[in-house]
């Protein structure tokens, strides 16, 4: 009896020290400690779905230069926080995959190193280069540009709409009560409403030569109030086009069932619609005014760690290998998002769906990456949801502006 317990305890003790040991091993393995073997290995954190797409480039690089490239598949949701926490300890990767709107946070935390695209910067889509630049400095090698667009059920409505009202009219002519759906929620969804807001010429921030200027909040200008009034008129107490009870799943179901002919969403939902047998066409966002309705563009790319001991190899790998058409097309095939390299984007645009998104993307503006944007997100959606649900548009919008301004200057 006693000896049994004892061995159990011993097993427990083994487990403890094993934990300590393993913890230190993992620390030792990923660490870029000064020894020679570590110096010739590039550790790259990759979205788990794209590991295979990068294998070719990694092998080609190893063959050419002798530098090992270790691709670590990570859950996309963890990459940013893990990167911020691990880089200062010296145990983070040399390169990570990410999205351009992380840049404010990464740069404020000092975990990301600038990269030099050199003359190749002209080879990328302008919106991708804008997004990769933060406070006048390029930090990201872009590989994909993502934006929302209107998916149209071409069987129900064969022609693209010329304006917002035209879209509703065309849908109603096809016999639909709720012809247009867009994802909202109890706390609103400003990302999906932003094209309409820009149509009223109310961007969130003004820009200067360094990019978005946090001191120049344009949200509350006259255009903003016009937009709020229009939004209120399309909400609960108006036409009912916007409804905060419609979330992503409900919008998707309505489009797939054919009860809605237009769906404002991103490329990530196209697959579901095509699988359901809908004849999908991609249109630009119909504007409620004469001005173009520009959505936000999200640009995906690669960052180099500020604490990387292999910066030269990291830069070389990104600029000269990931920045080639072949690799960009490999990545495109893994995610079906428009490549950021112009020549690859052109090749990919032979697909009409991609071409449709690319056409909308030409009007898109990069989502601001400055930390002040965090303060905007916090209040923006709830204010829009209130307006949709019948709150006084102008007063709500003014309160939004005051709250955001207060949060930015706090």
């Amino acid at each position: 009896m006693r000896v049994n317990t004892k061995s159990l305890l011993a097993a427990g003790a083994v487990a403890v020290v094993a934990t300590l040991g393993l913890a230190s091993c993992s620390a030792g393995d990923s660490g870029s400690g000064g020894d020679a073997s570590a110096a010739s290995t590039l550790t790259v954190w990759v979205d788990a779905e794209r590991v295979d797409a990068l294998k070719g480039a990694a092998e080609a690089y190893t063959e050419k230069t002798g530098v090992e490239v270790e691709l670590v598949g990570k859950d996309n949701a963890d990459i940013k926080d893990d990167f911020i926490q691990q880089v200062p300890t010296g145990k983070g990767p040399d390169i990570t995959m990410g999205a351009h709107d992380w840049l404010g946070e990464l740069s404020t935390n000092g975990v990301v190193a600038p990269i030099e695209l050199g003359d190749s910067s002209g080879d990328y889509l302008p919106v991708a280069i804008d997004a990769a630049t933060y406070e006048g400095q390029t930090y990201m090698l872009p590989y994909a540009v993502e934006n929302i667009a209107v998916l149209r059920n071409a069987d129900l409505v064969p022609e693209a709409a010329t304006s917002f009202d035209d879209m509703i009219a065309k849908g109603q002519a096809a016999g639909l009560t709720q012809p247009f759906v867009v994802e909202q929620g109890a706390e609103g969804n400003p990302y999906h409403l932003y094209p309409f807001q820009t149509a009223f010429e109310a961007p969130v921030f003004g820009t200067n030569d360094q990019g978005y200027d946090p001191a120049d909040l344009r949200l509350g200008g006259p255009g903003g109030e016009l937009f709020a009034t229009w939004l209120g008129s399309q909400g609960k107490n108006g036409t009912g086009v916007f409804n905060t009870d419609i979330d992503g799943d409900i919008a998707k179901q309505a489009f797939i069932d054919g009860t809605a002919a237009f769906w404002l969403t991103g490329p990530w939902n196209v697959g579901a619609a095509l699988d359901a047998g809908v004849n999908v066409a991609i249109d630009t966002v119909p504007s409620p005014t004469g001005a173009p309705a520009s959505p936000f563009a999200g640009v995906k790319g690669f960052f180099v760690s500020a604490e990387s001991e292999n910066k030269v190899a990291a830069n070389d790998f990104l600029v000269n290998y990931i920045g080639t058409e072949d690799v960009q097309l490999e990545l495109f095939e893994a995610g079906n998002i428009l490549p950021a390299l112009s020549s690859a984007a052109e090749t990919a645009s032979s697909d009409p769906i991609i071409a449709g998104f690319a056409a909308v993307g030409a009007e898109a503006v990069p989502m601001p990456a400055i930390p002040a944007m965090g303060s905007v997100w916090q209040y923006w959606g709830i204010a829009e949801a209130d307006v949709i649900n019948g709150a006084d548009p102008v007063a709500t919008w003014q309160k939004l502006t005051t709250d955001v301004q207060a949060a930015i200057t706090k």
Binding site: L9, S40, E116, D119, V319
Partner: protein, 539 residues
């Protein structure tokens, strides 16, 4: 158990054991497993030691001396304890203690430490890292300057850049000597070698990355012209730095505006106007986080109702789950009920499903326009389960009741079965009615065992982050509050929103808050435990 006695005997007789005693000990050992078990013990400890030695080696190689020492000491202590014949209590306690230190004490101490630092967005690493990051991001490529093909060359350990300028001329320079023309060997358009210098191959370039990232060759004698740097070892670009770091005085100067940023002890370079250069670095800030936590003007208004709701939520959750659990336990404890076993299994099911999963499912079922409850169960009703401030509070309590009653059911069932039937029989013989039996005999006896669990349940619900975060995320939002707080937020979810808003993560503030909440819960628990002592006197 025989060996325990044997050990006690040996403990009392320090002189050499007699042959008889030795034989007795051997027999006792054999009876309790014998040689095999001793071997197993040795093997286990050997594995443990092997791992510990490996861990110490790895740690020492990474210069983690403190952790290495801790592992070594712990491993030595474990060996000593398990090879000793006398440390019986320690043999039982050691593993538990190690786990306690690892998973409780360390976490608490670390949280306490973080509460006194400014760790968070913008204060993420060391000062050294902040300086190098600021310097790196202050490099601006000179506008319209060309890309220069370069070769990295070495002379007696000093690195230089062999540059081909756009006219096709070769230039060479190092960190200290500006670019100067030189006769070089060309490979096509690009200068690749020069007399007296060794050309670095790509592998050498990679191996000397550190030096190459530091390498900045001045373009001319005038520092304002900037310097050439090569990010990839094959092409160089002309950069000027907008920041200058003076190590002696510890100040950063913006050379374009002349603003001086100095280290004023706040963990970031700050100008006289109070403008901070970020990234900064981590420092200890004393009680600043605690002061901020209690004096934040944005919190003044929401804090009152959030605190009240937190107490209400915790108390009502404990009470409702306890009474429902108790009621069901009594019902299913009745021998007259058939198939109790199956009902009991059904009752425990909610407990078997992870709480965040059920909370998400409930959130879907409670959607106002499309949820299962309104659409199917109530035939198209429009009850704002999660969007009306008061109904949402009710919904949260309802879901928490669903999640929590199986635990109370299990606990009460066990406690009820441990109450002797004789008590009930005696009371019935004395003429007590069933309700009186329950109220005056069973409930007090039940509370003796269950009361500590009720206190633990209160502490758990006080910080029940999962249910709130997954079900309503604190919503519906209070659009009048200056922070994004909602009507079902409890303290811990409010703290989460305050410390982790938007893109800023303030770990220091979050730790300070969690320590404050810990103190509140601890005080309540201590008072409550004192009170339950009076219950124990019943026994």
């Amino acid at each position: 158990m025989t060996t325990t006695i044997d050990e006690d005997v040996t403990a009392e007789t320090p002189q050499k054991p007699t042959n008889r005693q030795r034989r007795a000990a051997n027999i006792a050992d054999a009876a309790s497993g014998g040689l095999k078990m001793i071997l197993l013990k040795i093997v286990m400890l050997a594995i443990l030691d092997a791992i510990a030695v490996y861990a110490v080696f790895v740690l020492v190689m990474n210069n983690q001396w403190l952790v290495a020492a801790v592992v070594a000491v712990v491993a030595a202590a474990v060996n000593w304890i398990y090879f000793s014949r006398r440390k019986l209590p320690a043999k039982y306690l050691t593993p538990g203690l190690i786990f306690l230190v690892l998973f409780q004490v360390f976490v608490l101490v670390y949280t306490g430490y973080i509460a006194f630092t400014n760790y968070g967005t913008g204060h993420n690493g060391s000062k050294e890292q902040a300086v190098s990051s600021l310097m790196a991001s202050s490099l601006q490529r000179v506008e319209d300057s060309p890309a220069y093909p370069v070769t990295v060359v070495d002379r007696a350990g000093t690195l230089g850049l062999l540059v081909t300028d756009p006219d096709g001329d070769a230039l060479i320079g190092t960190n200290d000597t500006p670019l100067d023309e030189v006769d070089a060997e060309f490979d096509g358009e690009k200068a690749v070698a020069v007399d007296g210098w060794t050309t670095l191959q790509f592998a050498d370039v990679i191996a000397r990355t550190d030096e190459i990232t530091e390498l900045a060759v001045p373009v001319s004698d005038d520092p304002n012209d900037g310097a050439l740097r090569t990010p990839d070892g094959s092409s160089a670009y002309q950069y000027v730095s907008t920041l200058e770091y003076d190590e002696a005085s510890g100040t950063m100067t913006d050379v374009t505006t002349g603003t001086v940023y100095s280290d004023i002890g706040t963990g970031a370079f700050t100008s006289d106007d109070g403008e901070e250069l970020l990234p900064g670095w981590q420092i200890t800030v004393g009680f600043d986080n605690f002061v901020r936590a209690v004096t934040d003007p944005r919190l003044a208004q929401p804090l009152v109702y959030v605190t009240l709701w937190t107490f209400a939520f915790a108390l009502i959750s404990v009470a409702s789950t306890f009474f429902l659990g108790l009621f069901l336990a009594i019902v299913f404890n009745d021998v007259r009920m058939r198939g109790r076993r199956y009902y009991r299994v059904l009752m425990i099911l909610p407990y078997a499903i992870p709480s965040f999963l059920s909370a998400l499912i409930w959130a879907g079922m409670m959607n106002e326009s499309f949820g299962f409850i309104n659409q199917v169960l109530l035939g198209g009703a429009e009850i704002p389960w999660l969007t009306d401030p008061w109904v949402a509070k009710f919904s949260v309590l309802l879901v928490n009741l669903w999640l929590g009653f199986p635990y109370m059911f299990l606990v009460c069932m066990g406690a009820l079965q441990s109450i002797p039937d004789e008590l009930q029989e005696a009371a019935t013989v004395d003429g007590a009615k069933p309700w009186a039996v329950f109220r005056l005999i069973k409930l007090p006896l039940l509370l003796v065992t269950v009361a500590p669990l009720l206190i633990a349940s209160f502490a758990f619900n006080f910080n029940n982050f999962n249910t709130i975060y997954m079900l309503t995320d604190g919503g519906p939002r209070d659009s009048n509050a200056p922070i994004p707080v909602g009507f079902t937020d409890i303290l811990i979810t409010m703290v989460y929103k305050v410390a982790f808003t938007g893109q800023s993560r303030d770990y220091g503030l979050a730790s300070a808050y969690s320590i404050i909440i810990f103190i509140i819960v601890a005080v309540i628990a201590v008072i409550a435990f004192r009170r339950t002592k009076t219950l124990e006197e019943l026994n």
